[in-house]
Symmetry: C3
């Protein structure tokens, strides 16, 4: 049997030992589980950023993987915790919309509220559900506990509004949804909407037709290409588009087809 | 048998490959050991910070876990390395007081000097005992080598002075002991010292009675609550108390009971 | 049998989930492989930095370890991907010279081009070969696939020029090759070239004879010692030589023997 696998996505940073506290709790309950760090550098409380980050990897992992997401500005309030079984992986998170983007890719899903106190760490702190709620749930799932054991099934989840691209009169209108470590600007425009001879505009300035890769631009040149999420991205070769263009999340992108 | 588990807490950062050097040495000696990163972002040489960080997780891990701490401004000097067996976990560190806070929570402990050169990597560099001393010791412990094999038992350890809270005339006097990634200010005042109607003061300014959680404050408001270490913490909802209040380690906190 | 082990060295950062995407792909193909992070903080596109970082750990790991290096400014161009079997470890990287420093320490090596598309993730994006090329290759190697299955053997690799130290008239001339997280300046001068009474000069200023360790200098003092790579290093005790001396990669170092 392959090992049970748990990934962790949080805004805790890696300095203070909060992630280690979660890992310790998991190891107590499920010593054989393999725990991997997805990211702990989500900007504090940035649910939208986490939603997009999760989309980069959740369905690349094997079926059975348990993905934990703790970006949780409402910790300690009445917001509930949930488990969603989607395409044979498990997603564990506060019910604050952080799963919206991942679930929009899922073929199949069912959701459960986390309410069975006997499967949580007691007493539950009001500020650290990563340690006291989400880590034990992940560990018990890794041990094979049935998802229905954690609480009742639920019909709907909180969602966050994801900006949708639209087409109007030969023009595609989209926005930047996130920037990455390199300063690449990821948009919400699907790569397969864009023809080879379309012209991409950022802030009213044309950056030209799609390139195949960074090497097709001159060093320092701004370019448009289809990135690894199969979405339109704006980049600067050997540089940062975010810094060069001084735009970011929410900035308008147009494609003249 | 569950896997042997080793955690690493250092001030090495994650950029330069120093942690990988430790991991490689451990893997050579104990290929089955599971190695986890607790934190490598301790401020360089900040033994007190590491002492508090260790306290966040060490006893959440299963018995048998080997916790390595390498925050070691005296590397290469005559300071010794030690192994402390505490509450059935192992703590490996330079004898510079970095274990003080964790051991103050332990029910039972015994300490050994690291002196058996045959269990270390040779030659031992004068600047990187993480690789040449502490990693091999961790790996051999993970393999089941008896703690007494590494050197003689010792009666006392170097300690660092941890500021103690005190009560005087209806007032609790404490200090901030650390801030975290979110800018929360952790104090040394135990949560169970504070009654529900006590008033918390920071820098002479009242922040009011304890709240249960962040959501009980308005966005941007300063609040006091009992954090996940069961100590009084000062926070700003959806913000950083450290930045808002411009205080940090050592700042005085008063609670009027 | 000990587990197959894969290490990852990239310039992806840890924020965006790119590393998790690689880990997911590896887990799908080789669920039992142990995957470790070496560093993801290589400055973007800095092949030379990665080359030195790899040298810190690659041959400390057990034989059979698969080391993946993805610092790849030419991703999507015609540069090829390679596997080098060196001293019984595997090194997987773009053929851009990033292996130069590690291979200069190897006793034995043979190289293969990555060209067997059936062992890669399809379709291959033009911007993320870490996920689509290097991760699957690492996972298949971890599964025991023969190195020759990935493509033809090749006779030469791209190399980067590594500055060489030289001796002239009783003076050793070298340069700083990297600085680390603590601000220590690593030079290219081998420790065993330097006699105990030689005088080290940085920027024309004498820092004196070699010390054995940091503790032999006063706090704040600049010192020269032999670091953990067995190379001359310049440090400031309890401080950063990089910040204090305001020098870095490429700066000249002289040793008067």
């Amino acid at each position: 049997v392959p090992p049970s696998r748990v990934t962790l996505l949080t805004d805790f940073g890696t300095r203070d030992g909060y992630v280690a506290a979660m890992r310790g709790v998991i190891a107590q309950i499920s010593p054989e589980a393999v725990v991997e760090d997805a990211s702990h550098e989500v900007p504090p409380g940035d649910v939208l950023f986490a939603a997009w980050t999760l989309a980069r990897y959740w369905n690349l992992y094997p079926t059975g993987t348990v993905h934990v997401v703790v970006v949780d500005p409402g910790v300690g309030s009445s917001r509930r915790g949930v488990i969603v079984q989607a395409d044979e992986r498990y997603l564990i998170a506060p019910d604050n919309g952080v799963l919206t983007r991942a679930l929009s890719d899922a073929q199949q899903q069912r959701a459960f509220e986390i309410s069975n106190a006997s499967l949580l760490r007691q007493p539950i702190s009001t500020t650290f559900h990563g340690r006291d709620v989400f880590a034990p749930v992940a560990a018990h799932l890794a041990n094979g506990t049935a998802v229905s054991a954690f609480g009742p099934s639920i019909d709907s989840l909180v969602t966050i509004e994801m900006p949708e691209p639209r087409r109007a009169g030969g023009v595609i209108h989209g926005v930047v949804v996130m920037s990455d470590h390199f300063g690449n600007l990821v948009t919400n425009i699907p790569g397969d909407w864009i023809s080879r001879n379309a012209c991409v505009e950022v802030g009213g300035v044309a950056v030209g037709a799609l390139r195949s890769t960074y090497a097709d631009a001159a060093p320092g040149e701004t370019l448009a290409l289809i990135g690894s999420l199969e979405l339109l991205e704006i980049s600067v070769r050997d540089g940062s588009a975010e810094e060069t263009l001084r735009i970011g999340r929410g900035s308008a992108i147009r494609v003249i087809t």
